[in-house]
């Protein structure tokens, strides 16, 4: 008993203004049928007396004011959920894309999701070993965290995200593991890289893929991450799996949001992005986490490509304010041929100190990480100084830090794309590098730890 309207009045960008409606609700799901029988979906953005503003997910190309038949469905956008989603590829609106059959849903859920009660959250504190030293050792990922990769065009974020998806494991922990992969506006080749990597390693059997390509309608991207996160929540909290969600590329999502905002003629915030970008992004990112009493968890790795490598651009900036840290890829390291080119200094994992230490990794982990950070920062400073003054003018300590910074990049950061280091290997490597420095400069680690872990203690600095 759904009424059908043929009262479209205006079409602008992906938006349709429908007149003479009654009983329409805000955020309701809408179907628009074209004369050739094609059905497109959209949602109500605003209702004002008897007019409704509808946003079409698949764009308004080919829709005419005269012939569009519009139906309001009285519910939000929903996704059918089942365990059989594992191993399948869907498009950005949740239709199978791999030629397989439709899935038979166990249940349907509104993709908007309701906010988690802060008192129901369980604090993320289980160490995830990704096998990548720059992450495990210095910017540790924990279960239930949202840790984005800030990247730039041409940097290997896809390789890094795929490597994390492949290697991530919680040591000594039981429980099933799943990957939900959400592509928003990425190229066919990049999507294919992930899919074939998942196939090659067999990971596809425990993965659900939602793919909106660069050639697909931009507006569809607004729904895609919500689809993916709804699937992830089902797997995590109903099926009790540990789910890793990769969202790539958030920049494309935000651009789609800007497109809608511009079409609605809203007052723009910074760089034309809508003023509610922060709130909108938080409704995605905050869906990561753990719930008290549930075995599953959702860990998010969003990929954000920074326009002009600019960290202060609104998208990475607002992302950084919501997520629990960030992994920043660096063009200079990439040019030096270092993979993964993670610039550890501005990178951060806010949950690191909850996930490491005695009983989780090792008691010296936190101090060792702080020491490596401080030493690398000082080494980079010494290298800058050497550019101006020449290496010979550096003090003996600065020379040691200079050498340390190079060794750190070459041995600690650099690893191969299939190299899966254990946390012990990473920690040992860190201590080996500290041997380069004079003992008196090791202020961040405790004397007892130096005693225990520093193998070849350099001779005490001899006074002149």
């Amino acid at each position: 008993m759904v009424k059908e309207y043929m009262t479209a009045q205006e079409i602008a960008g992906p938006l349709i203004l429908v007149g003479e409606v009654s009983g329409v609700k805000y955020e309701e799901l809408v179907e628009v049928e074209l004369p050739d029988g094609e059905v497109r979906r959209g949602k109500v953005l605003e209702v004002n007396e008897d007019t409704a503003l509808v946003q079409l997910f698949e764009g308004a190309t080919g829709v005419s004011v005269e012939s569009a038949r519009i139906r309001f469905l009285g519910r939000g956008l929903e996704l059918g959920l089942s365990r059989d989603m594992l191993g399948r590829v869907f498009d950005g609106l949740g239709h199978p894309k791999d030629g397989g059959p439709q899935i038979i849903p166990e249940m349907k859920r509104d993709v908007a999701g309701a906010p988690m009660n802060p008192t129901a959250r369980d604090y993320p504190n289980e160490f995830i070993q990704t096998g990548i030293s720059a992450i495990d050792g210095l910017n540790t990922l924990v279960r239930g965290q949202k840790l984005p990769i800030f990247s730039g065009f041409g940097l290997p974020h896809a390789e890094l995200a795929a490597q994390i998806a492949r290697q991530a494991a919680v040591r000594g922990a039981e429980g099933e593991f799943a990957v939900v992969f959400c592509a928003m506006g990425i190229t066919f080749e990049e999507a294919e890289y992930f899919i074939s990597d998942f196939r090659r390693t067999g990971a596809i059997d425990r993965a659900v893929l939602f793919v909106n390509l660069a050639s697909d309608p931009a507006i569809e991207r607004i729904a895609t991450p919500r689809m993916a996160l709804t699937a992830a929540e089902y797997l995590a909290y109903d099926m009790e799996m540990h789910v890793l969600v990769i969202l790539t590329d958030m920049t494309n999502y935000c651009e789609a949001l800007r497109e809608i905002s511009a079409a609605r003629k809203e007052v723009p915030g910074r760089r034309g992005y809508p003023g509610y970008l922060y709130t909108d992004l938080s409704t995605l990112y905050e869906r990561a986490g753990r719930i008290i009493g549930k075995n599953g968890s959702i860990t998010q790795i969003p990929v954000v490509s920074m326009p002009e490598d600019d960290k202060t651009h609104p998208i990475p900036d607002l992302t950084g304010y919501i997520t629990e840290g960030q992994i920043i890829l660096d063009r200079v390291l990439h040019r030096k041929g270092i993979y993964p080119p993670i610039n550890v200094l501005p990178s951060l994992s806010r949950l690191r100190d909850k996930g490491i230490g005695e009983g989780k990794t090792r008691e010296d982990h936190a101090n060792l990480a702080n020491q490596l950070f401080a030493a690398y920062a000082r080494g980079k400073e010494a290298q800058e100084l050497a550019v101006i003054l020449g290496e010979a003018a550096l003090s003996p300590e600065d020379k040691a830090f200079f050498k340390f910074a190079d060794a750190f990049e070459d041995r600690y950061l650099r690893q191969t794309i299939d190299e899966n280091r254990t946390i012990e290997e990473t920690l040992t490597l860190g201590w080996e590098l500290l041997e380069i420095l004079p003992l008196s400069e090791l202020k961040r680690v405790k004397p007892a730890q130096i005693e225990k872990y520093l193998k070849n203690q350099p001779k005490k600095a001899e006074a002149a």
């Binding site: 009654s22 805000y26 939000g76 906010p115 988690m116 802060p118 509610y276 202060t312 101006i388």
Partner: protein
């Protein structure tokens, strides 16, 4: 007042904004119930018959024609026993009760009172029948937690003679006392709780200038940029610079009797962190769990945006209520930028003319109103007790850019500025407070306190230290051009001392059991040792000793490990001072001895 409930019909829904028709009689800022789901909203604009309403819950599924009903009351909070240890959303609904009712996710249309109606409190009357009382007078007390004695006050604006008052076990809704109004026959019934509108500052008798510092145990703050009890501070900084950790550290260690922590549009996990950690942590002064003096207001980023706007008012009204009892209250708001963004979002939907960066033109005025509710006051009531409300607001400027309108609006009103910088954070120098650009305007008013409570020489020591840090900044510029070796011996000593100040005093590890909190006596001894070293080293340098020799002395290692000396063993720090003297003397003697034969 008598027109009572006004009802209207929804005309437009756009995000959190609902416009309703037939609302001519409704008053600005009255609370309305929207649709049959009874979602809570507040009137923020009235134009003829039309009222614009900001709705504190998700508006999906609402449409034109649904009813809107005004309650005739402004948005208020319930004030009474049961506030402490609670966690509220932006409009004072207890989140733990919501969870028990509807599960792990927050659904809509839930109405839960801020204070439990079932719980009974042991009330002990301290006033007696026949007393003349007025607003702010204490009727009696309730032991709310082991740390907080809740004083039951006569609400502001109520006065009369007590005709009935008894001790006993009551719920917040029971009538505990009756007053005979000022002879005109009006009778006031008083309960353990009363309501107060959040947008109205609670009255006090007189405002005082602050004269005591809020001791935080954070060395860079207490020693260099102190905030007074009753003062205001602002912590702006880019993400990852450690704003949240500073706020948490203050909430943990500040020597306030009540702490109000507002998580305004921030991460859900951060609130969880507080919820899990505070019951475990013990107050260094009382040995009781910190949670027993804490009230949390949590409106995380994914919760409805309009309630985020209300959350800071809810928080500060509760804070004022405890101030009125004569307590020292510390309020942390993390982050006021999210509050400003909520204002901006509503302003945009109202189609108001935007000011800077799309923020409404009234942003600075609203920010000033908020911070002006802090202060040290003589409370209402006959006993003239003094209460203080200190407010610390975090600001999250885009890209760390301090020209951001929210930062500027805040700096205009606050007296302390802790400038967090990301380059310090990259070097893992925490707290990443820049010692050159930060400031505190409370030094003068706190001077007397420092003289008597810390040390006569404290002010001078601080000034000397700041001068050394300032000189370091200048020398570093020169060293960058000509190299450290080209600097004079004396300048190299300054660089070395500044390094010691930065690394051994300003740097503080929030995650280390001992280092996380440093008392004033320990701060004084730590800084005194560095300054003693500096003074004696300068004499040695005059005698021809090289700065490098001085910094190679073993005592340097002890100075830098001072931070790990427990509060109970501060004598060790005095021993270090002795060693400084003897080791430097040794060097001078060696040098003089070497020169003499010539």
């Amino acid at each position: 007042m008598t027109e009572g409930k006004v009802t209207g019909l929804i005309r437009k829904v756009s995000g959190p904004l609902v416009v309703a028709d037939g609302m001519r009689k409704a008053r600005m800022f009255d609370v309305v119930l929207v649709s049959d789901k009874k979602l809570i909203g507040e009137i923020i604009e009235v134009k003829g018959d039309l009222a614009s309403i900001q709705v504190y819950e998700e508006t999906g599924g609402l449409g034109p024609g649904e009813p809107v009903e005004s309650t005739g009351e402004p948005l208020s909070v319930e004030l009474g026993p049961g506030l402490v240890e609670s966690i509220y959303d932006g409009i004072q609904r207890p989140l733990d009760v919501i969870r028990k009712q509807v599960g792990d996710r927050i659904t809509r249309g839930i109405r839960v009172p801020g204070l439990s109606r079932e719980k009974k409190w042991e009330f002990t009357a301290t006033a007696k029948v026949g007393d003349e009382v007025g607003g702010g007078d204490i009727l009696g007390t309730v032991p709310e937690t082991t740390l907080v004695e809740h004083r039951i006050l006569v609400p502001p604006g109520v006065a009369g003679t007590i005709t009935k008052l008894s001790s006993g076990s009551f719920t917040v809704d029971d009538i505990i006392s009756e007053l005979d109004g000022d002879g005109d026959g009006t009778k006031h019934e008083l309960k353990l709780m009363h309501k107060w509108p959040v947008r109205v500052a609670r009255p006090y008798r007189e405002r005082l200038t602050p004269e005591e510092p809020l001791v935080t145990g954070q060395r860079v703050i207490d020693a260099f940029f102190p905030i007074a009890k009753g003062g205001t501070a602002c912590v702006p900084g880019p993400f990852g610079a450690g704003k949240t950790i500073i706020q948490h550290q203050l909430a943990k260690w500040a020597d306030a009797e009540i702490v109000i922590f507002i998580g305004c549009g921030e991460r859900g996990n951060e609130m969880t962190d507080v919820l899990m950690e505070f019951p475990e942590l013990t107050d260094p002064r009382s040995g009781e769990p910190l949670m027993k003096r804490t009230v949390l207001v949590a409106n995380t980023s994914n919760m409805p945006v309009a309630a985020r706007e209300a959350s800071i008012y809810t928080g500060i009204t509760i804070a004022e209520y405890f101030r009125d009892m004569g307590y020292s209250v510390a309020l942390m708001a993390d982050s006021t930028s999210r509050w400003a963004e909520a204002l901006r979002e509503m302003s945009g939907r109202l189609e108001e003319m935007p000011g800077e960066e799309g923020y409404p033109a009234y942003l600075p005025a609203r920010a000033a109103q908020f911070y002006e509710r802090a202060g040290r006051v003589i409370c209402l009531g006959k006993d003239g007790r003094i209460g203080a409300l200190s407010a610390v607001g975090a600001v999250s400027p885009p890209g760390g850019d301090l020209s951001d309108p929210v930062v500027q609006a805040t700096l205009k009103v606050v007296k302390v500025f802790w400038s967090l910088e990301d380059w310090l954070a990259y070097e893992r120098h925490f707290p990443a407070i820049n010692w050159l650009t930060s400031y505190s305007l409370y030094h003068d008013s706190l001077e007397a306190y420092f003289r008597t409570e810390v040390s006569e020489e404290w002010g001078e020591m601080r000034a000397t230290t700041m001068r050394i840090l300032q000189q370091e900044a200048e020398l570093k510029e020169i060293a960058r051009l000509v190299g450290v070796d080209a600097l004079s011996n004396r300048d190299r000593l300054i660089l070395g001392t500044a390094k010691a100040v930065r690394e051994d005093f300003l740097h503080q590890n929030a995650f280390d059991e001992i280092d996380t909190y440093t008392s004033f006596p320990k701060q004084y001894k730590m800084l005194r040792n560095i300054m003693t070293f500096n003074r004696q080293a300068r004499e040695a340098v005059e005698q021809g000793v090289q700065a490098e020799e001085l910094f190679a002395l073993p005592v340097n290692g002890e100075i830098s490990r001072s931070r790990y000396v427990p509060e109970s063993e501060l004598d060790e720090l005095d021993e270090i001072e002795g060693k400084i003297g003897s080791e430097i003397k040794g060097l001078i003697e060696k040098r003089v001895g070497a020169e003499e034969p010539v």
